[in-house]
């Protein structure tokens, strides 16, 4: 395939952070409306990639396409490819459940199951037979997942209490712990802090910095400062198109495209 220089830049990977997920000429249509327009974008391993842009720019649609979450949307059609470790996620006979195990997702609003804190962690691994029978293995998985989500110390004495008793920020970290329990390689986060107060937001952001050591993360956010704070790479979308992508520190100090400049400085969008 012939790639333009810009495309090469947006897919460029370095040896330390090879590309894990790669959108190639990827488009999404809702009926007649094209929501994502022939996007080329790579998500480097163990890095945080932020996807920013005004409402309706296609950023959430793209993110949800990465773990086939859009499959349920009626009238939705895709074109192009999304490669996960080189395999096209949109080829025929892909095991979608397996895809979602390896590419987890955290949503805008914390959505714990109406169960205990421990059950929230164990539910996914149990139905997927990913946890050995017996109390010990379960306890170990609950603790390690909650520790990785920086929630263990706050909930260790009430693991059997309902998850609904937690604060919004704690619920969101529980959802992250639940995602981690499935041992994914990639974590997609769709506006994970938009329903949280500044303190809980700061905790989730610290957590993202921690998780980055082990997981590849893609985060969609409306909060530009958050993108600047937490990400290594930023991609700016407008009207379904990828306008600019590059190292976050470059994009927020000296962006190359005027549209990016205008958006991040608040001149439009």
């Amino acid at each position: 395939m012939n790639l333009t220089p810009n495309t090469q830049a947006s897919l460029a990977a370095d040896a330390a952070h090879p590309t894990v997920v790669e959108c190639r000429e990827f488009s999404v249509y809702y009926g007649d409306k094209q929501a994502v327009r022939s996007v080329n974008l790579g998500f480097p391993e163990k890095q945080v990639t932020a996807v920013i842009g005004p409402s309706g720019c296609g950023k959430s649609t793209l993110l949800r396409s990465v773990n086939r979450m859009n499959d349920f949307v009626p009238g939705l059609r895709t074109d192009g490819r999304i490669l996960f470790r080189g395999e096209n996620l949109y080829r025929d006979r892909v095991d979608v459940v397996e895809v979602r195990k390896r590419i987890g997702m955290v949503f805008q609003k914390p959505n714990p199951f109406p169960k205990s804190i421990a059950e929230n962690i164990l539910w996914g691994p149990r139905i997927n037979a990913m946890v050995a029978r017996g109390r010990e293995a379960s306890e170990e998985l609950v603790e390690s997942s909650l520790r990785k989500a920086a929630l263990w110390d706050e909930v260790k004495d009430r693991l059997d209490d309902s998850a609904f008793g937690l604060s919004g920020g704690q619920q969101q970290r529980l959802c992250i712990a639940r995602t981690i329990a499935m041992r994914p390689e990639v974590i997609l986060m769709d506006e994970p802090c938009s329903a949280l107060d500044p303190r809980s937001t700061a905790k989730v952001e610290e957590l993202i910095a921690e998780l980055r050591q082990e997981y590849t993360i893609a985060i969609v956010t409306h909060n530009m400062q958050q993108a600047a704070r937490v990400s290594d790479k930023t991609a700016f979308f407008f009207e379904g198109k990828l306008i600019e992508t590059g190292p976050t520190k470059k994009l927020f100090t000296a962006p190359e495209q005027k549209q990016t400049e205008d958006y991040i400085t608040g001149r439009f969008g």
Partner: protein, 227 residues
């Protein structure tokens, strides 16, 4: 208009006011040396207080926007540039005061001919100062690059100064005090020219996002030089 835009416009005006006063102070200081006018020298020294006050105001305005607006990209580069330019302008003002103080001294000493082409050096420095301030206002990086190139000439005159002063003192040891004052003037002019190059580099950063400091290889076409 966005709030930040209005705030940045205020800062632009504030910096413009500081730069106008610094240019004025510099011109007065040079004239005071040229004419050995003690009254003008004293007035020049006095005028620095207002620059000092306004410099603090510019800094406070910048800090306020940084704290409340979380600026990025162009806006961020502008503010960082203003903070640095503001600081450099204040230092140029101080050096202008030093030059005026030399004028005051010289006016009380027996007259001697300046041991170097004071007017030429002062004029080159003045053009650098005007050039860097114009490049700032017009966001003109070509002009900023010409300022960078012009610095070598001022440096060269300053280097020659030592030899010339040495000779002048040898020839007329009784006038050593006066010659030492001129040596100081030359060094202050050279320092001012250095600050002008700092400002020009900051202009290049503000406009392009590229940090051009410590890069002697910046290409300036020969015909683009103004001398």
């Amino acid at each position: 208009m966005r709030t930040i835009e209005a705030q940045l416009n205020v800062i632009k005006d504030q910096l413009l006011s500081v730069s106008t006063q610094v240019e004025q102070l510099f011109g007065d200081a040079v004239r005071a040396v040229d004419t050995l006018d003690a009254v003008l020298a004293r007035k020049t020294i006095e005028s620095d207080h207002r620059i000092d006050r306004e410099e603090v105001e510019v800094e406070e305005s910048c800090l306020q926007v940084l704290a409340t607006q979380q600026p990025v990209a162009n806006d961020l580069r502008f503010l960082v540039g203003v903070l640095k330019v503001n600081n450099d302008l204040e230092r140029v003002g101080d050096l202008g005061v030093n030059i005026a103080e030399r004028a005051l001294f010289l006016s009380q000493l027996p007259r001697v001919d300046a041991p170097f082409d004071f007017r030429e050096m002062a004029e080159k420095t003045r053009r650098m100062l005007k050039g860097c301030l114009d490049s700032l206002i017009q966001r003109d990086i070509e002009l900023a690059k010409r300022v960078l190139a012009a610095d070598d000439e001022v440096d060269a005159i300053n280097r020659e100064m030592y030899a010339r002063v040495y000779k002048a003192i040898e020839a007329d040891p009784a006038r050593v005090q006066s010659y030492m004052q001129y040596l100081s003037v030359s060094r202050h002019l050279e320092r001012i020219a250095d600050y002008c190059t700092n400002i020009a580099e900051d202009v290049i950063y503000m406009v392009t996002g590229k940090i051009e400091r410590h890069k002697p290889e910046i290409a300036v076409p020969q015909q683009a030089r103004w001398t």
